[in-house]
């Protein structure tokens, strides 16, 4: 603005429009400007969006996986044929193969971004409090998502080693219908009480992770209307309890009813 635009007595602007006051220009550490979309993935909100979208995709996968597992609750003869047929159906389908690659990529992205976010948050917090009672104002599982996620990752490694690896690279016996007998492998593994106990504990961790994750994902993606927020809470509870209880039920049933 040139000096001629200012009132000589009051030194105030004579023209309408934003006054460029040097005192209120941003004195930021980093210049404030709209950047092109190239580095939008580094922003906190974008990183949380990625966590939300990958998390919700994994939520969808859990539903499909659980529906498959529930076949193990059928009577023994029917379950063996049905489950082995289902396993064969999946392993021979090219679309299932493609989706499985997407699934692995999603799990890796979810875990890697969780790590990046945690590192940034540690840095943002800096010095610890000498005396810290902040825990009373939030739910424990909302603060321990990283820990719960690590338990789930630990479980996934065991789980993939015992079943996925055996199907892909191991030698499964053949059942009387000539199909690879994944059913007998599952029943054999679930005979171990310790294994079932660890499995169930991991499902409890999964339940809490989902309970906060599903709700948090909806918030991150911007569900802000009070009516939808209420629905998200209810659906989140039903979903989390249903998924974790459903998964935990199968090894408990197999352990106590079939062996």
């Amino acid at each position: 603005m040139s000096n001629s635009d200012l009132d000589p007595e009051t030194n105030l602007s004579l023209v309408d429009g934003p006054v460029e006051n040097p005192d209120i220009t941003p004195t930021s550490k980093e210049a404030v400007e709209l950047r092109p979309a190239k580095n939008w993935l580094s922003g906190t909100l974008s990183q949380k969006n990625l966590m939300a979208l990958t998390g919700l995709f994994l939520c969808l996968f859990l539903v499909v996986h659980l529906l498959g597992n529930l076949q193990l609750l059928l009577p023994k003869e029917a379950a063996q044929w049905q489950f082995n047929f289902y396993s064969k159906l999946l392993s021979e389908n090219i679309f299932i193969h493609l989706i499985s690659y997407l699934l692995f990529a999603t799990i890796v992205a979810h875990a890697v971004y969780a790590l990046l976010i945690t590192i940034r948050n540690r840095r943002a917090h800096g010095t610890r409090y000498e005396y810290d009672r902040r825990g009373v104002s939030s739910k424990w599982y909302s603060r321990k998502m990283g820990l719960l996620g690590t338990v789930i990752l630990f479980f996934l490694i065991i789980h993939l080693r015992d079943f996925w690896y055996e199907v892909q690279f191991g030698h499964l016996p053949i059942d009387k219908d000539g199909q690879e007998d994944l059913y007998t492998l599952v029943v054999t593994v679930y005979r171990s009480g310790w294994y079932v106990l660890i499995y169930v504990l991991c499902m409890v961790a999964l339940g809490y992770h989902l309970l906060h994750g599903f709700f948090s994902a909806a918030r991150t993606l911007g569900v802000c209307h009070p009516r939808f927020v209420g629905w998200v809470r209810v659906i989140g509870w039903i979903y989390s309890v249903g998924i974790s209880a459903g998964f935990a039920l199968v090894p408990i049933y197999v352990h106590f009813a079939l062996s």
Partner: protein, 246 residues
Amino acid sequence: MRIQLKIWRQQNRSKSGQLVNYDLPDVNPDMSFLEMLDTLNERLVRQRERPVEFDHDCREGICGQCGMMINGRAHGPLSNTTTCQLHMRAFRDGDTIYVEPFRATAFPVKCDLKVDRSAFDRIIQAGGYTSASTGGAPEANSIPIAHDVAEAAFDAAACIGCGACVATCKNSSAALFTAAKITHLALLPQGKIEGRQRVRRMVRQMDSEGFGHCSNTEACQVECPQQISVLHIARMNWEYNRSLAM
């Protein structure tokens, strides 16, 4: 009543600090927490020691200056209060009270309990305004705003920028503060015009100040003296995602 204080003493930004014990044998339960600190400071001045520095201004719960961690919680054991609205009757005779400054990398400690909260000012400077010409006051009814929309915008505008949300957040996230400022303007017709740039500028500034991510633990809402709703954070996310998509 007798109170044992453990106060964080730190001479300046570059020196390291530590907790120092003070024994106050005669505290009136009707004193506010800040008055109790005033009596301690009077004693320290008489003893020719450096008084405890802490921020305070209005002392009636509306300015947001008196931010400190008391017994491990922002603004002390009560929910939704400022420190000046906390009274010694909230404690018991013989209690030990820990008093620490708000902790966040973006809020460096200046001295004792005083922290530099200018990061909040820079977030506002990045876009928490409307570039409207402020000529003569226009006719109030020329821009109709529904009552509930005006109320919702005012609920967001009630944020006093005290920083308790950052101090209580495990990630030191400024999401509640930034969201309140964004929502306040995003709801009103005057603010909607620059909405897209505003949300991107303010979020970018929030990130560059070094605040953390929002984990939706909702602890901030519990400690906020103005009871700013965490749903504002969801609205900020909505506005941000919309600004990227469109």
